[in-house]
Each structure stands twice: as structure tokens, then as C-alpha cells.
Symmetry: C2
Subunit: 235 residues, 2 copies
Amino acid sequence: MDAKAVVLLSGGVDSATTAAIARAQGFEIHALTFQYGQRHKAEVRAAGDVARTVRAAQHVIQTIDLRAFGGSALTDAIEVPKSASVHGIGGGIPITYVPARNTIFLAFALAYAEVTGASDIFIGVNAVDYSGYPDCRPAFIAAFQRLADVATKAGVTGASIKIHAPLIDMSKSEIIREGTRLGVDFSITHSCYDPAPDGLACGRCDSCLLRLQGFFDAGLNDPIAYAQTPSGPEA
Amino acid sequence: MDAKAVVLLSGGVDSATTAAIARAQGFEIHALTFQYGQRHKAEVRAAGDVARTVRAAQHVIQTIDLRAFGGSALTDAIEVPKSASVHGIGGGIPITYVPARNTIFLAFALAYAEVTGASDIFIGVNAVDYSGYPDCRPAFIAAFQRLADVATKAGVTGASIKIHAPLIDMSKSEIIREGTRLGVDFSITHSCYDPAPDGLACGRCDSCLLRLQGFFDAGLNDPIAYAQTPSGPEA
């Protein structure tokens, strides 16, 4: 029987590539997706599609209410910022930062791993393109590993649940190349923070711009449709 | 203006005493309670009563679905074990252990603290009477503190959110004496894992037995009513 891994799956480029990496390493995938007051459900649908392509044994959707605390453009009813270019990203902590989000996600993943008997957890955080997010840094992953070592039954018995962040040092274009090499179908992924009513990506938010620049830098075409002609770096 | 503290409030003896300690230290209380598929809502009601007695500035109820993962008597539809005595507690990890529960609770508390500007978090974990729970040990709290130091904006800017576990080395009777000294009204607290339909505590589950023995050892009367004459240690 394959070893089990819990994979955090948002339905975007990074988590789809992370799931493909876990699958390529031989793990049986137990996918975990959060629905947390995004203004769009498109990414939860995309996560389901990605879970099917990696033949996930199980896919749990966990609904949590981060709006109860407020504090971020992705969960509040305020305007998602539109950047003129992705070069606006990286100066300080972005307004789209959701407080303690990855701490909460990994905490649930730890519970899921413990219940399902998974020995490993995969998370697609990335310190290169998300340098402004405190919980996307290697120091955060290392600290969560030390927490996991003492927080669970496995920690008490001497075993441990291993946290993998295989994308942490990769640029977006490197992630897209690696995903492509592993056969990820990026046409089913969703990245946009602010999609049109018909579900099409806006092509203008930070997340769309990072994605477009990543495909451009990788020398590949982004297979998804956009609501408008994207104002990518090549335009 | 008082410094703000997020206090995890279950409505039991331990968290009520913890809230009173935070209040006595001068903090403005921001209470956080979880509703996670318990078979009874009595403890959420009790948490609201306790929040009022410490004049909490805010009380957030966060609903989470730990049943999606399964794995514990407190969240699954299986029988809560009845001990002949509290001496049955402590041999290994109890069946009532909820995987990664305190990791999840503290992760949400961290998000709440970051959003509300709280500098401190209080949790009423106790390593003496809950020695079988991996996430009630001092090593767990220390590891979570190190995680909090890098997981938040405060961690990036050099400030930090401090995790307090003031009960960690106290016995149940010491907790009850300290709560009494601080004026906690234990008549509004709720401990039972398996209350009767009318809300009365069963007097037989591990949690009732720990509570009853705690009051007995403290030389105090437990002010709550029980569904049956409790089979406490004095009986």
C-alpha cells in the first residue's frame, strides 16, 4: 500500500504542481481544500478537478470563517488591488495577506494526517514570489515542523509527520516548468483573486500577473482564458 | 487603553480561570470559542456566560468541522467512555483526544490576535490532569510560541505575540482554588462530555470525575447540579 500524504490543494498552479510532486513520489493523496469566504467558488471547483487528476483517495473541503476576524482583501468586502505590473509585489506585506492562514491550514492538515494515518503533508508555499507573506518563508515551515514533532500522537510515540514544501525556493516559471514536466493540466487550475461573473480570470490582479509572467518566463502558453487581453509583461 | 489578549474559552473550569487570570493582569479580553461538532451546545452557552463575567470586549464563536476527519469520541458518534474513577486517566492517549485540536485552536487565536491587535494569547491547557494529550504539554506550548514568532506580521517586524498557558503546571484543585480566589463563578461553567438532555452534567465521564475530584481536593463544593448523585472519590 502506498504511503499516504495530505496535500493542501487550492486549485492554483502551485498546489497542482505540489500534488503532482507528491504523486510522483508515490504517495496516495488525501487532498484538503479550504473554503473561507472567498468571493468566488471557482478555486474550490478547480481543486476538485485537480484532486481527480492526481487520483486522490479522498478530498475534504473544510469550511472556515476567517471573516469573523476580518483583516484581508481576500476575505473582506474591499477592493482587490490591481497592480500595473507584478513588480509592485514584494514591497512589505501585501494587503492580500490573510493573517495566520498557512498556520491554520497546516493545523487542519496535521489533524487530517493524524486521523487518516498519513506520514507526510505537502504544502505549495513559495518564498520567492510571496516574499512579503510571513507564513511562506522557510523559517515558518521549519517552525511548523518542530511544532508537528511534539503536537501529535506520532510525536509522542517518536514517529513524526513530515512537512514538505517542495516549491519553497522555486520561481513561478520554475514551478510551471516542473508541473509541465510532471504532466499537470494547468487548464483546470485557477489563480485569479477577482474573476468575472462567468468565472474567467481577470488578468489584472496580482495573482493573474504572477501567473502570466511565470508562463511567459517559462516560454509556455497559459492555457486558461482571460476576461480581457492580459496586460502581461510581453504586452 | 488596556492591552488586548485573545483568550480561548471553552466554558469549562480551566478556561474560566484562565480568563480571570488574563483579566486580573489587566488585559482587555477578546474571547474565542469553537463549536466543533460536540454533541451538546451547553459548553458554548457556558463560554458566553463566562465571557460576560470577564467583561470581554468581543466574543467570537468559530465553527469548524473536525468530523470531516473523524477520529475522536468527542466529535464522532461513538460512546464517550465512563470511567470507574479518574485513576483510569493518564495511561496513554485518551480516546477523547481530538487530533491536533490545540494546534488548530491556537492557529485561529493567532489570526484573531493579528487582526485585532492583541499582543497576547491565553490558553487553559493543563499538563497535570491531561498528561496523555500531546498538545497539552509545555513542549507543545514552547513550540507554538516559536512558530508564532515567525508566522505573523508581528514576527516579521520584530514584535511577537506571546502565548500564555498559566495553568500548565497546576492540578485541578489548584486551578479551582486560584479561580475561586479571583472570583470565578464556577456555577456557570460546563465540563461534562456527555450531559443529559436537560443539560445536567452526567457526573460519570472523565471530565466530570476530574472536576469533582478537583473540588473535593480543594475542599470546596462544586456549585453545579448533576443528573445523578456523583460517584466522586468521597463516595
